[in-house]
């Protein structure tokens, strides 16, 4: 699927399933690129491309360790996504809490009707 070139923020970066997979792997600890290539079973240039996108938005950091480049997760930019989703959660939670009250009353009045019939 063609995708817009923009990788300006964490939302775009994690829209790609492979990049979410890379974040999951790095959440388990820092890893050199060849290890990511092996686990993902993707060509190295493709993995490097995904890592570059993740670095651009700050989700992944890199350091040199001897002859290897080692990547690690920086989850801070994910907070933007969490904040955004939380906005919806607050709104729907308040609404559904009210619905609980309405439903409890409906159940009660149904029970009342049943007793009335007996």
């Amino acid at each position: 699927m063609a995708r817009a070139a923009t990788t300006a923020d964490a939302f775009n970066a994690v829209a790609e399933p492979r990049r979410r997979q890379i974040l999951d792997l790095l959440a388990g600890g820092e890893k050199p690129v060849n290890e990511l290539v092996a686990v993902l079973a993707l060509a190295q240039p493709l993995v490097s491309k995904h890592l570059r996108v993740l670095r651009e938005v700050g989700l992944v950091e890199v350091r040199d360790s001897g002859r290897q480049r080692v990547y690690r997760l920086n989850a801070r930019p994910l907070k933007d996504i969490d904040d955004w989703v939380s906005g919806y959660r607050r709104w729907w939670s308040g609404r559904f809490d009210r619905m609980d009250v309405v439903l409890a009353e409906l159940k009660e009045s149904e029970d009342g009707d049943e007793h009335g019939d007996q």
């Binding site: 923020d9 939302f11 829209a15 933007d80 996504i81 904040d83 955004w84 989703v85 939380s86 906005g87 919806y88 959660r89 607050r90 709104w91 729907w92 939670s93 308040g94 609404r95 559904f96 809490d97 009210r98 619905m99 609980d100 009250v101 309405v102 439903l103 409890a104 409906l106 159940k107 149904e110 029970d111």
Partner: protein, 165 residues
């Protein structure tokens, strides 16, 4: 009858670029959740959540029928939503459009699903936008400001999604 409190347990996820999925379980059979969801007097009592007061509810529950809800938000301003019913399966499913009248471009297609098990009902609402851009447009405008502004914007977006029928 036991009542299991489930306050604050709505789960919100983003299954695809243009989608938002809301899931919540209720301690009531599906026909009662349906009744609460589709009866104007009952909708008035829960639809605004803790963000205001519903002053008007219109429900014409048939395919092609319209719905419209108006609330006074806590800030004192009036907020209205309307849409059209596209599919109705009693006690199970409603597909409807939803337009926040303040942001008419950001209409969504909402699919409500009710699944009952052991007297409890899992309710899901899948809200689908015409594009990722429409969903994210609101988001980006909110993120440029400060945290408070951002949350205010989120509230507006959330209001525009309010998918009850």
């Amino acid at each position: 009858m036991s009542t299991v409190t489930s306050s604050g347990t709505a789960v919100v996820t983003l299954p695809a670029d243009n989608q938002i999925l809301i899931t919540r379980e209720f301690d009531a059979p599906a026909r009662l959740v349906w009744k609460a969801w589709t009866t104007p007097e009952l909708i008035k009592r829960w639809w605004a959540g803790e963000r205001g007061e519903v002053i008007s509810v219109e429900v014409d529950l048939r395919v092609g029928g319209r719905w419209r809800n108006v609330m006074i938000a806590d800030g004192g301003f009036e907020v209205a939503f309307h849409g059209e019913y596209r599919e109705i399966v009693e006690h199970e499913r409603i597909v409807s459009t939803e337009v926040y009248e303040g942001l008419p471009d950001a209409s969504s297609l909402n699919t409500l699903t009710l699944v009952e098990r052991d007297g409890r009902t899992t309710l899901t609402v899948l809200a689908e936008y015409p594009s990722k851009e429409l969903r994210d447009g609101h988001l980006e405008s909110g993120m440029e400001g400060g945290m408070q502004e951002s949350l205010d914007e989120l509230e507006q977006v959330a209001l525009s999604l309010a998918g009850s029928n």
